[in-house]
């Protein structure tokens, strides 16, 4: 370690001559010095260049291949939804007693993934975690797209999808009635609806200054007009910036509890019911930890290829990924603790139904799902105790994909094992998915990836104005520190 810190003196000054980011390890912390958040001796102009190049240059062949494949998948998904509406939800494997099967599992899976973006933008902003600036934009975009995927499933699971608007409290001329406000399912409508719209506003507001940068660099009049309209004629006026920063802080303050509330309410869908294995008070924190866990894993899965393809290694540095991996390790261990607590409570409560449910989870007909979940969610992130693995792009993608698989299985285990073995043994059953279940889960990835690829193609992937703000602050800090040293 000592030798390492000797060779890599990671300050803004010493990395001036270095161009290959792979040679720079900004993950070491030198006492008394802040490690630089971005590398490669960047100026304001070079940050603009690096980020705008993503949208201005011709897209690499890989983009076209990925977009072709994922848009095809997305179109097939929409076709399958049309078929589902035509034919009915009977094409899925949902059958007595497991009526909440894959559609709900997929909903919770995607909503969970959609937690990372706003968490990074809001909570890390309030905690003044400056490293968030390089990754927040892409993470927020990912959040919006994940919430879109999540929203599809309850919408089509209601059976008569064309009447899904009945969920909203609107003055109906046909029904003469209102929704039931004591039901967690209605809270869900409000929570997910608020989260989706507030995240969208947060994301869009954050993009306005960067869209103005895109506008001002545009060569073609059409591009200039489109970005000009999107950025609402932003000039970068200091009077505007003042209100903008105040608004951003306020939005962060609202979004931070909102993030925590969404998965709490989603967990209420389960916890407020009487089913053994669902009716527990541990669910809200356990779900929120799991959501952050899966969300960060998805951000890592997307950002590692993104920074490689678009050569953003100087802005999204190993330190950013290292920090995210530490959060994955922490939340993964929290999730593991939650699993253990559930088992402890099942034994300690001496409630025979609770006891049976958890024994059945681990050793019943769905043992394979349970142990897949434990392996992926609890064991695989433990690799991140080793710095070598935590800072290796290959290993972090492997682990993050394992985490995503594990988190899907967690929702499957919670939903299906409890429903298939409820209080009445005569109504026990074994859930079998159909081909449509599988295709319609796979299809949602097509929607997600298509939207994310279009985002990279047309919108600023990194919050340039925020990165520049951090550079300015860092330069001031360095300057002040240098002056301080001279005095002595």
């Amino acid at each position: 370690m000592g030798k390492n810190t000797q060779t890599n003196r990671v300050t803004m000054a010493t990395i001036a001559n270095s161009f290959n980011p792979r040679e720079i390890d900004n993950t070491d912390d030198i006492p008394g010095r802040r490690a630089p958040l971005i590398t490669g001796n960047q100026t304001y102009g070079s940050v603009t260049d690096i980020v705008c190049r993503v949208a201005e240059d011709a897209q690499p062949m890989l983009w076209w291949i990925l977009f072709g494949f994922s848009s095809l998948t997305a179109v097939s998904f929409l076709t399958l939804i049309a078929f589902l509406i035509y034919k009915g939800v009977g094409i899925w494997g949902n059958m007595n007693p497991v009526f909440w099967a894959w559609p709900i599992v997929n909903f919770v899976f995607w909503v969970g993934i959609g937690h990372a973006g706003t968490l990074i933008s809001a909570i890390l902003f309030l905690f003044r975690q400056n490293w968030r600036t390089s990754i927040n934009r892409a993470a927020e975009a990912m959040t919006i797209f994940a919430v879109i995927c999540a929203g599809i499933y309850p919408g089509i699971h209601v059976g008569r999808a064309w009447l899904a608007f009945w969920l909203l409290p609107y003055p109906s001329l046909n029904l003469w009635m209102w929704p039931q406000f004591r039901s967690p399912l209605l809270w869900d409508v409000f929570a997910v609806g608020t989260y989706a719209s507030v995240s969208l506003v947060f994301w869009y507001m954050g993009m306005i200054p960067d869209l103005a940068t895109y506008r001002d660099r545009s060569k073609s009049p059409l591009r200039r007009m489109v970005y000009g309209i999107l950025c609402l004629g932003w000039t970068g006026s200091s009077r505007h910036w003042l209100r903008y920063e105040k608004a951003y802080t306020l939005l962060a303050a609202f979004a931070a509890p909102l993030v925590l509330s969404v998965h709490t309410v989603v967990s209420f869908d389960f916890a407020v019911s009487q089913v053994a294995g669902w009716h527990t008070t541990i669910f809200p924190p356990y779900f929120v930890a799991g959501a952050i866990f899966s969300g960060f894993a998805m951000v890592v899965t997307l950002l590692v290829p993104l920074r490689a393809i678009y050569k953003l290694e100087n802005l999204i540095t190993l330190r950013h990924l290292d920090n995210m991996n530490k959060i994955i390790l922490a939340t993964g261990s929290l999730v593991g603790l939650a699993y253990a607590t559930e088992f402890f409570m099942a034994w300690y409560s001496q409630n025979q139904y609770e006891g049976f449910t958890f024994f059945n989870r681990a050793f019943g007909p769905y043992w394979w799902a349970y142990w897949t979940m434990v392996t992926c969610n609890v064991i695989s992130p433990q690799l991140f105790w080793f710095k070598k693995l935590r800072t290796s792009p290959f290993w972090m993608v492997v682990v993050s994909i394992f985490v995503n698989i594990g988190m899907w299985f967690e929702r499957f285990v919670i939903t299906v094992t409890s429903l298939s073995r409820d209080f009445l043994p005569s109504s026990w059953g074994y859930f079998k998915p159909t081909l449509f279940d599988g295709l319609m889960f796979f299809g949602s990835f097509g929607v997600f990836m298509s939207l994310f690829l279009l985002f990279c193609r047309f919108l600023p992937t990194i919050a340039m104005s925020e990165v520049k703000g951090i550079m300015s602050a860092a330069a001031h800090a360095e300057h002040a520190e240098g002056a301080h040293g001279h005095d002595h």
């Binding site: 304001y44 940068t213 970068g236 509330s261």
Partner: protein
């Protein structure tokens, strides 16, 4: 044509100037210049930077924004909206009764109240920021300078507006020139045509009109009247792949979708129409009776005459109650009691007879109950006495027929099917049989050991 020429020359005149714009390389030069301009007394100033420069509000003398107060009001509005909505919708207008839980605002109202507070606050934050900044504003004189494109990239601009009350073109130029800017330009009026090109306006109007067409069609269909069948976008449950009664089918040879009952089976819920215990006669033997008699029987049940036409109420009103000639009731009565002849059943029959029958028929069955006595006294000869159970006509009836009379009623006697269950009715039949025997037997039928007891009673 000649009028156009002078106009064109007036348009070519020098564009209006809005102020001076100075450009700097970094934020420190900008801050220094901004302080200088502020200290010179100018207030209509602004800086344009690629990111929010720390300390610029102080350097330019910008006052804090009122946005947080607007947002506070919106948050309170959101909270009250959520609480009022839940209280009124679920506590007043449409009460859901669930497990005896209280109506109105309860802890269950918290999630929605929280979400709406956040929703209202967040949207007000965003829209308030946009409104206070007077955005969107697409035509702005600062954009006329091509160098200004770098204001969102890596350059810092300071702007002193001509609208300032101390503004003097030359002195401001001198002041800004003294701050060592990279460039110093006058902000000029945007002379490019501000109106949208005609094809774009035309296209937008066409698009709006085209967009309204589907809405108008739907509105017309929903609000108007039509004799054509309803157009179903979604079938919901209006059309189902099933056959209803009276419909035809190609599945069966006879073309009927309604199927006759399979022989030897009893339909669910139809036992009471199939079993002699509930009827008093054997339905299986009904077919043995000639059709005329069956027709008469049917007429008893649904007030139709034997030839099948509905009974019309006669002018004198005599057909108001179904005429039931006793002779028509020639049904395959059962003559063996379907219940056990036991002490318990006899006691049950006696109790029920005395409760329900004795009021008219009398305790001994002679048709001299209290009702009869009172009615006879009041009606003075018009009262038709209840039948005595000891006349030959009744005595010779099979048990099934007596059961049927209790079940369906007879003449003025009402049906007792709703008061007495079948077993109780059969028990009454048993008791009636005992009463009849007690009034019409000779000593040879009395068991030998009971003769002495009988003599003692006498």
């Amino acid at each position: 044509m000649s009028e156009h020429k002078p106009r064109k020359t007036t348009e070519k005149k020098v564009p209006k100037a809005f102020g001076w714009m100075a450009e700097y390389q970094d934020e420190n030069s900008l801050l220094a210049a901004a302080r200088k301009v502020r200290d010179s007394g100018y207030t209509k100033t602004d800086a344009f930077t690629p990111f929010p420069v720390h300390g610029i509000d102080e350097a330019l003398g910008i006052k804090p924004t009122i946005l947080p107060f607007i947002v506070l009001c919106a948050g309170i509005t959101g909270l009250s909206t959520a609480l009022l909505m839940q209280w009124w919708m679920n506590g007043v207008d449409y009460k859901y009764i669930i497990s005896g839980k209280p109506f109105g605002i309860t802890p269950a109202s918290i999630p929605v109240a929280f979400e709406l507070t956040v929703l209202f606050s967040a949207f007000t934050t965003f829209l308030g920021m946009i409104a206070l900044n007077q955005l969107p504003k697409f035509s702005n004189p600062v954009f006329t300078n091509p160098r200004f494109d770098r204001a969102t990239n890596d350059r810092f601009f300071l702007y002193v507006e001509a609208a300032d009350k101390y503004y003097n073109r030359e002195s401001v130029k001198e002041l800004l020139g003294g701050t060592h800017p990279d460039s110093l330009d006058e902000v000029l009026e945007d002379t490019t045509p501000s109106a949208l090109p005609r094809p774009i306006i035309l296209g937008a109007i066409l698009l709006v009109i085209a967009g309204l067409i589907p809405a108008m069609i739907i509105l017309n269909i929903r609000a108007g009247y039509s004799t054509a069948p309803r157009f179903h976008v979604f079938f919901d449950m209006d059309f189902q792949p099933k056959k209803k009664a009276q419909q035809t089918t190609t599945i069966f040879a006879d073309g009927r979708s309604m199927r006759p009952q399979v022989k030897g089976t009893v339909g669910r819920g139809q036992l009471e129409e199939q079993d002699s215990f509930y009827l008093g006669y054997d339905p299986a033997k009904l077919t043995a009776i000639d059709t005329l008699e069956t027709g008469k029987f049917v007429s008893l049940q649904d007030s139709k005459t034997a030839d099948g036409s509905a009974a019309k109420p006669a002018a004198d009103g005599s057909a108001q109650t179904p005429a039931a000639p006793a002779a028509a009731l020639n049904l395959p009565w059962i003559d063996k009691l379907p219940i056990e002849v036991s002490e318990a059943n006899m006691a049950l029959g006696k109790q029920k007879f005395e409760t329900y029958c004795s009021a008219c028929h009398g305790y001994a069955g002679f048709g001299d109950g209290l009702v009869h006595k009172r009615a006879d006294a009041l009606a003075q000869g018009y009262w038709l006495a209840p039948t005595s159970l000891h006349v030959d006509k009744v005595r010779t009836q099979p048990v099934g027929q007596i059961f049927h009379t209790i079940t369906k009623g007879q003449g003025k006697m009402a049906s007792y099917a709703s008061s007495l269950n079948p077993k109780e009715r059969w028990a009454i039949v048993l008791y009636v049989r005992a009463l009849q025997k007690s009034r019409n037997a000779d000593m040879s039928e009395v068991p030998a050991d009971m003769v002495k007891t009988l003599d003692e009673v006498k």
